[in-house]
Symmetry: C2
Subunit: 477 residues, 2 copies
């Protein structure tokens, strides 16, 4: 495993280098020097007081031991019967784990034969979609399935509802005792209904450390347990995160990639109207990192109120794209549309495989030039060409390069974005750890389903104006 | 199969109904009445002249016959050996087919056993990602695989390069003759390298009708052949598209859902600064429709130049979200962030499955309210709650409801968005059928790979300023 640093490159946002109405000057960047030092101090103090516990996740050796022991117990108890892991979770409970698995396992992991795969298949049940769930039941044998339900609060409606449905499906076939052996609950160490249920029912448990919110939890048992089950080297993952933590311990903006990235995003948004932040990995394996990042950025910085109480309606909109696929979908807009985007190109120096393009059909000019190159060269050329085409059109581009896709570099990348987000929260002066905007929807749902204490919300739902058919259009048949 | 109309509902964008800085008044909508009639006339005339041939795709019975015959020939020639279809394509050649398959086959289609599935597994190779391709080779047996390469021009670098690599992989095992039997080329009926190669090599061929661009090609053999192989009723799909075509033949804005949707998007973008269009299907099966839509909107309307020659930098940025998953990721931002989004909620009246949530753990208030409801009720309550929470915060919402996910309703939906896009092109006064912004990147790639005639582009690449290490940050190790 190549244990090298990721490289953060902001050359192509600088007005000295790109001709753009939304370039940034070095002076503009340097205007954040003092503020950076100030915020760094605040973060360091909060961290010391234990108010930012996600920072300490790379150092929690005891939690890693518990994860490995839990996996070993399951393997001992179930042996060959541990063929599938079904993870039930949503948002912060699923996006990080999915990103790790996509990046660090075989691209068709669940389709490999058991002999080749060697570790259990892993499925994520996120949505409350009856067709999806029924589909899962068609392919999962309860006898051979372990369920890992993840919910920080222990009451999140979607995973709990899905767990109840899965429990019935499995107990009908297995009985209660065999089912209980196959459940791992990942939740708050003390609080919440799931913790109590796990105690009553004898389910295995893993902890989400206190104060670690869902979207900052990927390096806790939330992401680490499924990753470990799929054979990922979670020690190297945490080692990579540790490396990034050290790198980001400086208050010197020009040596702190996470702070620099936050400053560039913030400045472009608030001073130049760039309200869209695209993350475009040039790698299928890294594509779901962008889904994880979307939540991190959107929920942390998308806030109506500043900490001062002022109404700010903050937040860039994160957009996922995948290179080279989206060259054939989004790049037309990125090059020619409004100057409203900052595009981050995430790419990999060395993939695991090198594939030669054979020199076939040499009589055709439109094809012959490909022969003799590798697929990897083609990918790199297209990536470079896209960056050049974008900057030629005055579109700012940040490039992040990963020397190799492995747990160590992934750990760096995830931690980098977490630190950037915390720092970004201070720039916007918003609370990056809460999500007040999702409460209203939850409460309306409780009201409609008749949860005790939410009767008033049901009344509020009834008071919304009904749909006026005048403003709907449909065909007759 | 329920053959009913989809329902388009724009109640919650109207300033009479939602308190919002970006609501639209009925008067504003009505101000487009004349323009709509004018554009409708133009579209009808161009259509008559054969300049918008995608409109006629639902009526091409001969093409459907050829698709079915080709499938039958393959089944006759290969029998049980036709176990996998590998589709090689990118952008307009892949997104529509992927959307159809995801919507209309089993949610874990490729993981089902052959006896349950009955039709071949289908894989899409889009990216030029060596790890992904090598992974495919681990799971595909060349003897049991049919390759469908799709490229309108016959020279698109990515599918051609991937095809060359796949050809070598398969011929090494099968020999040339057996390989040739297993290839279907979908391309222009007359022009392009792939058409010639198919003729030379005796590959089977399917047509993309002249003048039908990639992103408007889903209802040609591009999307229909893979769909038919996977057992989808493509006749019903085209029947649904025909239904929508008829519905959109009126120039009365208030009865034409596609035109109305274009007007609302355009007006919010150009008059109220709403530069982001979110499409949020509340269904895993419909989620990839949003990927298809992303290309359609971005490439068609994301244009630097108006038809008048004026520089306009047009184009909303389409964003994919999935309900309910993104309630735990994006809705915080959608409710509390800037007023820069129009959100379309796409939902389904009746899923195939209804799943009861069992009344377990009734002693816990945070869980007991779920018991006795169905997963479907929970999904619907959450969708409704999200819409209410959004409009309470003044965020405009369009709702599109599909009575049931089936080929007939899918056909409507796809055609609806195509018509909207064409109409939108006229509102922005841009050419919605070209994509000049992707040429520069292609040419730089050709230059870097040494394609004849692109030497000057290589020189241009060399003239770009090199990366200055001063503006990169990395750690030492």
């Amino acid at each position: 495993m190549l244990k090298k640093s990721i490289v953060y490159d902001y050359n192509n946002v600088l007005s000295d280098r790109i001709k753009s109405p939304i370039g940034i000057s070095i002076e503009e960047i340097n205007s954040y020097t003092e503020k950076t030092a100030l915020i760094h101090k605040k973060i360091s103090e909060r961290r010391k007081k234990g108010e930012l516990p996600f920072y300490e996740l790379p150092y929690k050796k005891e939690d890693v031991k518990l994860i490995k022991n839990t996996a070993a117990t399951l393997q001992k108890e179930l042996g060959q019967d541990f063929e599938n892991l079904l993870v039930i979770g949503i948002g912060g409970s699923s996006l990080g784990g999915i990103a790790l698995l996509k990046a660090l396992t075989h691209p068709f992991y669940n389709l490999l034969s058991g002999e080749v795969r060697k570790t259990p298949r892993v499925f994520y049940l996120e949505n409350i979609d009856a067709d999806e769930i029924a589909g899962l039941f068609d392919i999962l044998n309860p006898e051979k399935t372990v369920v890992n339900i993840i919910s920080k609060s222990g009451t999140t409606a979607e995973p709990v509802a899905n767990f109840l449905v899965v429990q019935r499906f499995m107990t009908e076939r297995l009985g209660k005792e065999e089912f209980s052996k196959r459940v791992v609950v990942t939740t708050d160490p003390k609080k919440g209904e799931l913790r109590k249920i796990a105690r009553d029912s004898g389910f295995k448990t893993l902890d989400i450390p206190e104060g670690v919110g869902g979207r900052f939890s990927v390096l806790s048992s939330v992401g680490l347990f499924p990753a470990w089950i799929a054979g990922i080297d979670i020690d190297a993952l945490l080692e990579g995160a540790t490396f990034m933590d050290k790198l980001c311990k400086t208050d010197d903006l020009h040596h702190n990639p996470a702070y620099m990235n936050a400053v560039i995003h913030y400045h472009l948004h608030t001073r130049k109207g760039v309200n869209i932040a695209v993350l475009m990995p040039y790698s299928n394996a890294l594509s779901t990192i962008a889904d994880w990042y979307r939540q991190l950025l959107a929920e942390s910085l998308g806030k109506q109120y500043a900490l001062s109480g002022e109404i700010v309606y903050a937040g860039q909109t994160p957009v996922k794209a995948t290179g080279v696929i989206d060259q054939h979908s989004q790049v037309q807009l990125y090059r020619e549309g409004p100057f409203d985007k900052l595009i981050t190109i995430l790419s990999v120096d060395n993939l695991k495989n090198f594939l030669n393009i054979p020199a076939l059909y040499q009589e055709y000019d439109g094809i012959s030039y490909l022969g003799g190159h590798t697929i990897n060269e083609l990918l790199n050329a297209e990536k470079k060409a896209t960056v050049l085409a974008l900057i030629k059109s005055g579109r700012p581009v940040i490039e992040i390069t990963v020397p190799e896709i492995n747990p160590y570099t992934l750990g760096q990348l995830l931690f980098f974005y977490e630190v950037q987000t915390i720092f970004g929260g201070y720039l916007y002066n918003v609370n990056s750890l809460d999500q007040p905007g999702v409460e209203a929807g939850k409460h309306y749902t409780y009201g409609m389903l008749g949860r005790k204490g939410y009767e008033e919300r049901m009344e509020e739902v009834k008071r919304f104006p009904k749909r006026d058919e005048k403003f709907t259009i449909k065909g007759k048949k």
